[in-house]
Symmetry: C2
Subunit: 392 residues, 2 copies
């Protein structure tokens, strides 16, 4: 069989291959990007699902509209507006997790050879999704405040076939870094000047350990350049595969056409479950309970890193999200660290897959949301030993 | 914004636009391809969901493997094997409805300018899904036994860049026609000679009013050329968006990579619900109840057509599935019939969207599964009057 050119070149996700190894219960896994299932509202889901099936069973089990359940879209629009992103139900489409929004964005904007700009490093799942359309990637460095705008400006001024910019300004995957408000404002000025579509991926914005959130790009966007991706996978339950996409109406219509032929619509029972949860329970309270736990785990992990890692390891100190990013001596390859860590029953994700172009082998990503504090202490201690051995 | 070339050209589905008009409860709609929600096992779903959330709530609400729930894949493999399609759990991936299998197949095989062969007419949703990859379509006529193999042979021998063949041999959408066993055998001989991948879309195979089913292409395939798409949307509940794909292992691996970056995995609560239903209930009994009802409706519709349509309307007499296909005088355009029918509160789908290349305007599709016998009598009578008026 002769496959399409894009698919011939696509490789299985490195991350998902490593995650398979972590299925062994003895492994302390810092690898996934996974919420702690202890916080899933299982009892509430039982109650909610009974109500939905009783009141509207035939409706939620039937085919539904591609845009998604209007009452859920309504609630999402209200939540976004409260968070400073003024929007309406007509700007929102329900998608099967925000990953689907990445796949659709690739389809919507990219022809083979077109260029897509992203942070360096960036989310591996976005890179794979975009690759299906055979684009070229341009990586832009980030500092402590966000994307380097002089680099971005130079690229936007010199390249004609850049079709979109993909960014994760809040508690980025993989680094955990957030952009400063100032940098976001300057970025949006550049975007307005170049009239460039921006995919703002925001799965972690609500997993925020600070008392104040920094406004999203969407909330600074007056002209409809920002396409915003949200999800219930980190704050509610990823197994339901429900996320959303907010875009200017003419752009949303294009996404709707793509969704029609991709999977017709997202599971409507799942949409109704989340809608009913938002009706009956205090979602913000739920999120704040998760955030308290994750914040303690982040603290514990930073403390353990300080105690056990070699002194020349640099790492981020995120104020939210699920990840800490580690930068080790250039003499060490994080893949060979992983091989040795797995022998000690500890797992993480080597940084390589987060760079679409660069060949950087001395970084890795640690997840702190789905491990308890004891596991963090033991796992980081073991990992520290492996790193010190490698440096010797 | 500059969109990708494929998307610039994609138009909203005609069918979904018409379906919006049928939301008015006064409209008798023969338009959808929709099962009757009265047969959805709502009470069973309540019971099942409670059991799943109690026993494995955290598991089904968490991220899961891209392939899908192993126990569901196992049961699907067993059902397929019983139906003559010898297969294993390792050949099966769960997808979000069989529509997703069409989208993925386009991605897997088609580069811009590649050719895809299909029946004339064919499923409009498949045509849209493939169009996202900018292929050229080759339509092959069908007679009462299936695809015209002399046409197909000529095309396969003369064209170098045909990448796949898409067919619906059982109770086809839109015509309701099925291929004879003899035609299927000859088709597979041709396939073996040309080593050509075949997408066999089989959403209607189990909606069979005959006592004996004709073997699928998959069951006649000894060399792994057939990629088989199945779904629970017609026999169970479409709102859950659960289907499956069966392919040779190296091909399935490619589909798995595509699914990883498209939506990670299909809603796992829905997978577990179907799995548990298959455990606790008699699915074949459920299907036979549906089939009895649909068979009566088909009978009623054929009878009403005979009584009310003008004598020169030809139509199919399907032994299963959801549709009857009508061929009217070439003097009449089925779109203008639709406009007048909608004024009489009757809807159907004009045939145009089912031809990727041909410009044929005098056919239309009638659905009989989601209307009762009284609605069929009244709706077909009204439609008959519109057709007779148009012929005058």
């Amino acid at each position: 069989m002769r496959f399409s050119k894009a698919i011939e070149e696509l490789k299985p996700s490195d991350i998902r291959e490593i995650l398979k190894l972590t299925e062994n219960p003895e492994v302390i896994s810092f690898a996934g990007g996974v919420p702690d299932p202890n916080f899933f509202p299982v009892e509430e889901m039982k109650e909610i699902t009974q109500i939905i099936l009783k009141d509207q069973g035939e409706k939620v089990l039937q085919y539904n509209t591609t845009d998604g359940l209007i009452s859920l879209r309504d609630k999402i629009a209200a939540r976004m507006s409260t968070a400073g992103m003024l929007t309406t139900v007509d700007n929102i489409m329900i998608i099967s997790g925000s990953q689907q929004g990445l796949d659709f964005s690739g389809k919507l904007f990219l022809d083979p050879g077109d260029m897509v700009v992203c942070e360096s490093p960036s989310y591996a799942g976005a890179i794979s999704a975009f690759r299906a359309n055979q684009p070229e990637f341009i990586e832009i460095s980030t500092d402590e405040e966000g994307m380097d705008l002089s680099q971005l400006k130079a690229v936007l001024e010199s390249q004609q076939n850049i079709k979109m910019i993909y960014v994760i300004p809040n508690f980025q995957n993989p680094t955990g870094k957030s952009w400063s408000l100032q940098r976001r404002r300057e970025f949006m000025e550049l975007i307005r000047r170049h009239k460039m579509p921006v995919i703002e991926d925001d799965p972690y914005g609500e997993i925020c350990f600070d008392s104040e959130k920094i406004p999203t790009l969407k909330s600074l966007d007056t002209d409809g350049f920002v396409i915003y991706l949200g999800t219930f996978s980190k704050t509610f339950c990823p197994g339901l595969r429900v996320g959303w996409l907010d875009a200017a109406k003419p752009v949303l219509q294009k996404y709707n056409i793509i969704k029609q032929s991709s999977d017709i619509h997202t599971n409507s029972l799942a949409q109704a479950e989340i809608d009913k949860y938002l009706d009956l329970y205090d979602f913000d309270e739920h999120i704040s309970i998760i955030n308290q736990a994750y914040r303690s785990r982040r603290d514990k992990m930073l403390e353990a890193i300080k105690k056990h890692f070699p002194g020349n390891c640099r790492h981020t100190c995120p104020n939210g999200g699920l990840f800490i990013w580690v930068d080790i001596s250039e003499k060490i390859n994080s893949r060979s660290v992983l091989v040795k860590a797995l022998q000690q029953n500890v797992a993480f994700i080597p940084g390589e897959s987060f760079y679409p172009v660069s060949n950087i082998c001395n970084t890795f990503r640690l997840n702190f949301s789905n491990v308890n504090e004891l596991e963090i202490e033991i796992g980081i201690e073991r990992l520290g030993r492996v790193l010190k051995d490698e440096l010797d």
